[in-house]
Each structure stands twice: as C-alpha cells, then as structure tokens.
C-alpha cells in the first residue's frame, strides 16, 4: 500500500526532510551470508559487450543528420565581453547555427571563471565547428580575479551560508585536555577526468518533444531539469543512457553542453551532439574543491577525546556547493565537545561538483592525520586511540541502523600487526612504515525508486527500470537480486535500464545510493512477480499457494511435489506476469552510515622524497555484499583513485591570472598500472537489519575516503614527518622531513 510519510533523504552527505509517497516494505530480509545468487561472485552481465567494444556509449552514437557543436569558453578567470562578433563563424564552412549570450541561459558575456561558455557553433563536422569557434571575434575587458579562499571568506564572498555544527563546548573541552594538538591541513583541487568526456545529443520532434542521449548518472534528474528549464512537459523529454564511461559525481545533471545542444538542435532542426574535449573537461565539468582545514584536538592522558574543533574553508569556485568537510569530525568519534564551521568560498575558478564522497575525503585526511599526531604526543597506539574513542551511540540521539566499526578494527589487527616486520624492512634511505585511518560516510539511499519485473512464457525475467549503470556493476547486482527472489539462474534474468521512456522512476547513481535505493525495489518487484507465478501454479497443480515457493527454476511444494517453472510459464502464451516494486522507507529516527578502516604500508626515500605505497588493506562495513567480485573492484578502484589524490594529482591555477594550467592528461597525473600496490579488500558482510528488505548499503564511496590519511600516517610512522598538505609531492615531503628533524634537534638532551 502506498503511504505518505515524512522521511530523511541524504545525497552526498546532505540531509533533507521531505514528504514522500512510499510503499510498504513487507518482505523479510534474506538470511545473512551468501545465498544462491546474491552473495556469489559473478561476472558482469555486460562485461563482454563492453570488453568487445560493442557497448554503445553516448560517444559512439550517431544519429542521421547529426551536427556537432563546439563551444567558445572564456580564456579568462574574470572578464567582460566588450565586443563580440559571431558573423565570421556564421560564414565559416559547414556551419549551421551559432548562438551567443542571450540565446541560451548558460552563455554569458560576463564570465566569472575560466571555461565558462560564451558562444557555440553547430556544424556538419566537429572540426568545422571548432574552426568556426576560432573565428569568433571577442574583445575582452580583463578583470582581476579573486583566487584566495581565505580572502574570499574574509570578504564574505560565499556560495552559501556557512554551516555550523556544535555539540558541548569546545573551549571547555580544550581546558579539560591534558594534551592539545593543533594543525593546518590543506587539500588540492582534483579533477574527475572520466574517460568518456561529458557529452550529449539532443534531438527534437517538433518543438515540444525532446530526446536526449547523455552520459549521465541520473537519467530522471536530467529529464526533470531539462523539462523545467525548457518549459516542457517532463513526459515529453526522453533521456537515454545505456552505457557511460565514468562519472564519479560529475555527471549528475544536464550540464551546460546539453542546454547548448538543445538550442542548436532546435535552431537547425537537426540532432546536435555536444561533446567536450579533454581540455574542456578539465575546465568546466566540476572538480573536488581544494580545502584549508584548521583543526584542534584535545585529549586526556589516557587518550579520551575532550575536544575537537575544525574551521574549514572549501574553495568552491564560482558556483557549486560547500561540501561537509567537517562531517567526519562530527560523525566519527565520541567526543562531548565538537565545533565545526564550514565556509564555502566563492572564487573566480571553475565550479566544484560532487566527487566521490565530497567533503568526507578531504575532511578525513585532516581529522585522521590529526588523530595520529595526537597519538604520537600521547605515546598511544593509533588503533587503540580510535577504539578508545569509538562512538557507541549517536550523540544526536538517534540509534545506528547498524554499525560494525569495532569489527572492522578487529579485522584490521592482522594488518596492523605487520608493523614491526614492515619497519624492519627499512634499508638505507628507504624507510618503511604503516598507518591507518577510519572511515565514516552515508550510503543508505532512500525512496522513491521503482522497478518492474516481467516474466514471459519462456520463463525468463526482465527487470525494467529507468536507472543507469555508471560502471559500478549495477546491471549485474540488480539481476542477481531478481534471480535470487525468482529462483532463477543469473543467465535467465536480463536488466533493461537506461531509458526514461521505458521504465519507472529510478534514483540517482551517486552518494553510494544505487544499490541501497534500487536493490530493494527490484527485490520487491521480483517478489510480486513470484507471487503471481505461484498463484498460477497453485491453480494449475491444485495446491495451496502458501506451501509453494520458487527454487532452481522449479515450483516447489513444501508438502511434496516439484514442477519445472516452464510448466507454469508456458501457460502464459502471449500473456506476461508483471511485478512491480518500490523502495520502502528508511528506518525512522535512525542514522544510516557506512564505516571502515584502511591500513597502508609505504616506503619513503628520505633523500629524494619519493613515496611508494606498497600495500593497502581495506575493511569496510556496508551491510550485505551482493557481488563480492564487483565489490572488490569498487574497493580497488576507490583506493587507486585515492592514491592519485594523495601522491600525484593536482589541478593547478596560474596564481596571477587564474587560468587552468593542467588541462591535459600528461599535466594532470593520474595513477597508472605501475603505481598500484597490493590491495586487500575485506568486508564485514552483515546485513543491516533495519535497512530495507536487502540490508545493503552503498560501496561506491567508502573505499576512497580513508586512504590519503592512512598513507600520510604511514609516512609519519616511517619517518616521523607530519605531512599536512596534498598531494604529497617531493617538496612537501622534504619540507615535512626537515621540520621533523628540527623538532628532534630542538628537544633538550
């Protein structure tokens, strides 16, 4: 039954209280542990298609008569257009339409960040469009950009009101402490750099119906936003994304390119593809914003935390949102006195966008490094310090839907115990050490989300829902869940997703919410289909329905008897069994969080400042694991990205002009296969009893959160150096080593 309830919805760490229509979640959870299909390691359902180069990504689509767009983007961080002449572009070879400021709401003659779109061209080929863009004449009035985040905060240039969180009294907590540590941490701006650049194709049918093929993480959201902006009926906007080449949080909306493409398509009456180049991708598709974190922690001699304080500056960019960089400080430890303030600085720099656990990745680096600096001062084991301050109950009065962080710590012991052997392998200038860091994040998902399951006379099932698979193995996990419920082998279940015209509303693939939001809906749709099949079987075989169940492609009666599923399904003829399912509500008054801990081993060359990560062990608590093979890949991928975040990646701005210096993949250095350490992935794998009929939380983000701090703490363990700024370049490491030596030198004998 559909009910109207008030529930909390969390996306990327932001909570909203809203009224939602939900259907009751009547199914009991499956027993814990691996089942017949769910919990088994299975290959990706679309693996072959992707590996063979057959999967049609947006980048591969060609529609009849399709034109290509190129965009003129501001080369300046802050400027006004004094004169703009689009005529030379209009006259250029192959050009079909040119638009400028005033024609599309995202085009401006007052750009406030480098890469902001000013004008655009549609032509027969991309080369022609790009050549025409070069012919556009612009006279710029350059203005001085605001680039310093601290200055922006001082001047009140903010993208939103500062977020403040307070529990207890920080000053009193500090007064009670035996030891106080204070430090400033900095993290850099990072680029998503999805391999498939942001792009879409817009095609109009008349002037009221629009098809959009787009590389996106949120089919339904793109539909909503476009309909809203273009004044269309949402049902007249069809959004399609069958395969997409990575998003990591940056593809949650239509993007400027889709609005531009829609207008050019309208003007030309032809489909228009607007695909960003790698250089545009580095400018205008969002980023993980840089942060400055001024932190303080106080503790008793036994390690009990008495105070935690954080003043955070998020260098957001011209627009975007101020992430919860103080979230880990708020959620991770038992401490009576906590104060967090987050400022979102508005700068003349490209806007940020959600990037795999925004805020928490940056904030965990600061907090977990600070904890280890505290452990060093207290001469306490870092793992012991974390256990001592474990938060057993949520201090804001909610209970946890499930929390197995202590179990994560227990599983980490074995990796932590390698410390002495690792250190003993230090040799000459190469020093080795081990560090750890804890993880907390959201990842519970929420309603609404819907799925249908269709079973035909051939006894095969198709899951239909307008969700997207962003590369996380969603198709496979959904098929596993439906197969489990229907008693089918995995190859008898297909998943039809990726098209808003085909299936019901599906939630965003962001915030580690795909599995916890969609999985329960798919299960309840499959259960609805199973119930109907059993209704038919009860009549066909003259049994009471309550004794029947589906297992191994058979209808099985508990009081004896078993019939092949086909013998029921074949009766359908052209008929179909249609199951429908919805995501039930989140448990009221409970906090749904994911937890984990990672242990990193590093080797540091104290002469050159080179750092090698040799091993990372990751233990995460995300409820039930649906596909252990895919889950391991998520963990490994998160850690690989995190190693890039920690050691090599940085988007650099020219400090004078604010232009982006790192627009190519040789300048912006992402990890290669040669940079990958041994990675061990472990899971607590206990279903969250309070969360949905599935008990699974999301895993997309947790693995990227603690890695940087674990590496930095391992560097401290190896060398005594306090690394406080990312990336850990050789300069930063040599600076920290020098400081450590001076500190030792300053200690009276």
């Amino acid at each position: 039954m559909a009910r109207l309830i008030k529930t909390e919805k969390e996306v990327e760490g932001r909570y909203e209280e809203t009224w939602v229509v939900v259907e009751e979640d009547v199914l009991d959870q499956w027993p814990a542990g691996p089942l017949t299909v769910v919990g088994q390691a299975v290959e990706r359902k679309d693996g072959l298609e992707r590996a063979r180069g057959e999967a049609p990504y947006t980048a591969d689509l060609k529609l009849p008569g399709m034109l290509h767009a190129a965009v003129l983007r501001s080369p300046h961080a802050r400027a006004n257009v004094k004169r703009l002449d689009l005529e030379p572009a209009r006259r250029s070879l192959g050009v079909r339409a040119v638009v400028g400021p005033g024609d599309v709401h995202v085009l401006t003659d007052e750009p406030r960040y480098p890469g902001q779109p000013v004008a655009a061209v549609a032509a027969d080929t991309f080369r022609q469009a790009r050549e025409a863009v070069k012919l556009i004449e612009v006279e710029w009035e350059e203005l001085e950009p605001l680039l310093d985040p601290d200055e922006a905060v001082a001047r009140g240039e903010l993208v939103e009101e500062p977020r403040r969180f307070e529990r207890g009294d920080l000053e009193r907590g500090l007064a009670k402490a035996d030891v106080v540590v204070e430090a400033e941490y900095r993290t850099q701006t990072l680029l998503h750099n999805c391999m498939e650049t942001h792009q879409s194709i817009c095609r109009w049918h008349g002037d009221r119906k629009l098809d959009v093929f787009i590389s996106t993480q949120f089919i339904w959201g793109v539909r909503e936003r476009l309909a809203d902006q273009l004044g269309l009926d949402p049902d007249d906007v069809r959004v399609v994304c069958e395969f997409m080449g990575g998003g990591f949080g940056s593809k949650n909306g239509p993007g400027d390119y889709t609005y531009i493409g829609a207008e050019l398509a309208k003007r030309t009456g032809r489909p228009v593809k607007c695909a960003l180049t790698r250089r545009e991708e580095s400018l205008a598709t969002g980023n993980r914003n840089a942060t400055i974190q001024r932190l303080v922690a106080g503790a008793k001699a036994d390690g009990t935390l008495t105070a935690l304080g954080g003043e955070y500056v998020n260098a957001v960019g011209w627009s975007g949102f101020s992430p919860m960089t103080g979230g880990p400080m708020q959620y991770l430890y038992a401490c009576d006195n906590v104060r967090v303030v987050e400022h979102g600085a508005r700068l003349n720099a490209p806007p940020n966008a959600a990037f795999r656990a925004p805020g928490f990745v940056e904030g965990t680096f600061g907090l977990e490094c600070l904890l280890d600096e505290l452990a060093a001062r207290l001469d306490l084991d870092p793992l012991e310090l974390r256990r001592r301050n474990h938060l057993d109950a949520d201090p804001e009065g909610r209970s946890y839907s499930s929390k197995n962080l202590m179990e994560c710590y227990r599983l980490a012991e074995e990796h932590w115990a390698r410390r002495d052997t690792v250190r003993a392998r230090s040799e000459g200038s190469w020093q080795r050490g081990v560090g750890l860091a804890s993880q907390v994040w959201f990842g519970g998902g929420g309603p609404p989300s819907y799925a249908w399951v269709r079973v035909g006379a051939d006894g095969r099932a198709v899951v239909v829902t307008a969700m997207q698979d962003i590369g996380t193995g969603t198709r496979t996990a959904m098929a596993q869940i439906a197969a489990e419920e229907l008693g089918l082998p995995l190859d008898r279940v297909e998943v039809a997703l990726g098209d808003s015209a085909r299936g019901p509303y599906a939630s965003i693939s962001a915030g580690s919410s795909t599995l916890p939001s969609m999985g329960p809906a798919v299960r309840s749709a499959a259960a609805d289909a199973a119930r109907q099949i059993l209704e038919l079987a009860a009549q066909r075989f003259d049994k009471e329905q309550r004794v029947l169940s589906l297992k191994d492609e058979h209808v099985v009666a508990s009081d004896g008897g078993s019939w092949p599923l086909g013998s029921v399904c074949e009766l359908l003829g052209d008929g179909q069994v249609l199951g429908k399912g919805a995501r039930g509500p989140n448990p009221t008054g409970m906090r749904v969080l994911t937890f984990g801990v990672q242990v990193a081993e590093v080797a540091v060359d104290v002469e050159t400042g080179e750092v090698r990560v040799e091993r990372v062990a990751a233990i995460h608590d995300v409820g039930r694991i649906v596909n252990p093979l895919g889950a391991r890949s998520q963990v490994e991928g998160g850690i690989v990205q995190a190693i890039g975040h920690t050691l090599s990646e940085e988007r650099l701005l020219d400090p004078e002009t604010g232009t982006v210096l790192t627009q190519t993949l040789d300048a912006y250095r992402m990890p290669t296969i040669a940079d990958v350490p041994e990675i061990v992935a472990e899971f607590v794998d206990v279903p969250d009893q309070h969360l949905t009929n599935l008990g699974s939380k999301g895993l997309g983000e947790p693995p990227i959160i603690p890695t940087a701090a674990a590496i930095a703490n391992a560097i401290r363990d190896a060398t005594g150096a306090d690394v406080r700024s990312l990336p850990v370049t050789r300069e930063e490491l040599l600076r920290a080593l020098r400081e450590a030596r001076e500190r030792v030198g300053a200690v009276p004998a």
Binding site: G47, A51, R52, G53, Y57, N193, C194, R278, P671
Partner: protein, 129 residues
C-alpha cells in the same frame, strides 16, 4: 591537417570499438595495432599507415583476453577497456607469459580512471586459463 587514423576508424568506417578519451596521445584509449605494434590512433595520421595491417578491438573480439578481462572483472565503466585489451594483445603476442613487471611496464600508457588495474594485471596473467 589530414585525418587521423582514429577519425577514419570511428567516423568513415563506423568502427566505434576504438575509443577517444583525450585525442592527444596521453591515455591509450584509442590504441590499435599496426602490424602487431600498438600505436595511438588519435595521433597517427591515416596517410602514414601505408601498407601496414590495422587491428582494432573489432578484430580481437574472439581473443582469449576478452574472456579473461571479463572473468577477472578487469573493467568497470569499460571505456578504457578496448584500448587495454589491444595493448595487452600486443604484449602477449610478443611475450606469452609476461611477468607482473612486464605487464606493468607495457600497460603503463593505458589509463583507467575507474582503477581496474589490479584486475587488469590479473586478467593478463591468466589470459590463457
């Protein structure tokens, strides 16, 4: 400027298995083989190919590496994967049992933003299983 090999493959010939991710020789997504030797098709002008045989992922669909990539879960979004497989095919063509070091050396030009590297290494180590 003349057309690149990549433009010809994806555009004129409609072979979209070869991907473009940077277009300037920095990522390996567009890797194809010329007489068995891996090249970046986005920075190879098509007129320079001459008589050499071009092998794209379309020509390697039955290569055991395709199965081993899926088996080892060596792909996530899959956008870099055709390029990875083409590079790997050149490697195992020359060295049928590559060591981890050889794999890391040979494959370092193929970027995978999803970070499937540990699985890619595994897939290449076990390609004949």
């Amino acid at each position: 400027m003349g057309a690149t090999l990549l433009e010809t493959l994806r555009g004129e010939l409609g072979l979209s298995g070869t991907k473009i991710a940077c277009g300037e020789g920095h990522c390996g997504a567009c890797t194809v083989l010329l007489d068995g030797v891996p090249v970046l098709s986005c920075i190879t002008l098509v007129h320079t190919v001459g008589e050499r045989e071009v092998t794209t992922i379309e020509g390697l669909r039955e290569h055991p590496l395709v199965r081993s990539f899926v088996r080892a879960d060596a792909l996530q979004c899959g956008f870099c994967t055709p390029g990875q497989i083409v590079s790997a095919a050149a490697l195992v063509g020359a060295v049928p049992e590559p060591s981890r070091e050889e794999i890391r050396h040979h494959m370092a030009g193929n970027i995978c933003r999803c970070g499937a590297y540990p699985r890619i290494e595994e897939a290449i180590l076990t390609w004949r299983d």
